[in-house]
Symmetry: C2
Amino acid sequence: MKKRGKGKDIILVSNDDGIRSEGIKALRAALESLGEVYVVAPDRERSAASHSLTLHRPLRVEKIGPREYTVDGTPTDCITLAVNGILPRRPSIVVAGINKGGNLGEDISYSGTVSAAMEGTLLGIPAIAVSLVSRKNFDFKSAARFARKLAKRILAKGLPKDTLLNVNIPQAKKIKGARITRQGKRVFGDVVFEKVDPRGKKYYWIGGNMLRWEGGEDTDFAAISRGYISITPVHLDHTNYSAISELQYWKF
Amino acid sequence: MKKRGKGKDIILVSNDDGIRSEGIKALRAALESLGEVYVVAPDRERSAASHSLTLHRPLRVEKIGPREYTVDGTPTDCITLAVNGILPRRPSIVVAGINKGGNLGEDISYSGTVSAAMEGTLLGIPAIAVSLVSRKNFDFKSAARFARKLAKRILAKGLPKDTLLNVNIPQAKKIKGARITRQGKRVFGDVVFEKVDPRGKKYYWIGGNMLRWEGGEDTDFAAISRGYISITPVHLDHTNYSAISELQYWKF
């Protein structure tokens, strides 16, 4: 499943928390021994940027260090520009993260970290998204060590076609192992807060507190809640094949 | 599969081209006979906004007419705010569009129109995304007529769980019928253009010309190219189940 360029493997690292985040630094340091690491990341935080591509304006790329670039765009822009412009040859893997906070369940649709990996997969490059599920005491180093282990394996063996891995890692002390999981689903409580500004005008703020998750024992949520690393294979093809036969009976 | 509130069905209409687009006006007009249509749409174009939620700033909602609101946010914001704040009761269906231009293949991941429908589905409301595959002479009226037909059927019969319909409609004169399809895949040519600004500094512009599509006769691309309306059931769960068993053998 693997294509090799000339010379060492290029490892493309990006994220959505921006170039200055601790998570991307830890990832870069951990991956250095596997190949030539290039960091191409947004110049500032782009969380919840999702899979957006910047089409309506030009993009600037700045080289800020050896094999280190910023883009004034989204994570998806970073991967597209890196592969089609910045890198000296095609990367062997895209590693996105380490995100500060988990990307579980429907986060997969919203997350800039997952989107960066998805863009790699769309371009035919094996890709993983790595997130640290924690709210404080972020131990990026041990998460980065696991990312390295996984990246090494993928560099050797590749990944299933059109599929990225969405990896969520719990806090270090709790890790019991790794589980292959499926995407779970949240049940939300109140998600929109209505407030009044100093001039008496209403505004809204999207919040959202999770009441619980559902989907059973084989989900990403279940793995994390039990102290396991969750690895979800995410497919680029979003077709609901089982619904196709059902819909075939509809007449128009 | 259907839940009814009190009174007439509420039909929530949104898009990513913005409130002033012709497509949303045609859609609203066509759906009026099916229930109480509410339009909640971005105040300006938000194409390629993808599934992003605005979390870092407050959002303003403006009532600009009877059952017509603008939001200074993304299509996803519009649906969340509509369902959790603006509408008097839960909508029976979300109809997003009509997008000016197709949303085929991997567009499903990028499209704001599809994202608006996806947010409806996430909230447990049947949803469709409607796009007109054309580059000129946009005949929104006949596309809106088909959207009405489909919405009527969904109001009566519901949709498969966690599944939205991504509907692409070719130009009116060409329509031969409708096909249930799966998501196809593009093969791209050059996607990034490197240019130099008036001050001699480099910049990049993401373009992307499609060379061809692949995936066979049952794809959205194939249906459209033959003059059929394409209806792709899109699942919220992006797990690649067939990859799970393969990955189970990996040791960590």
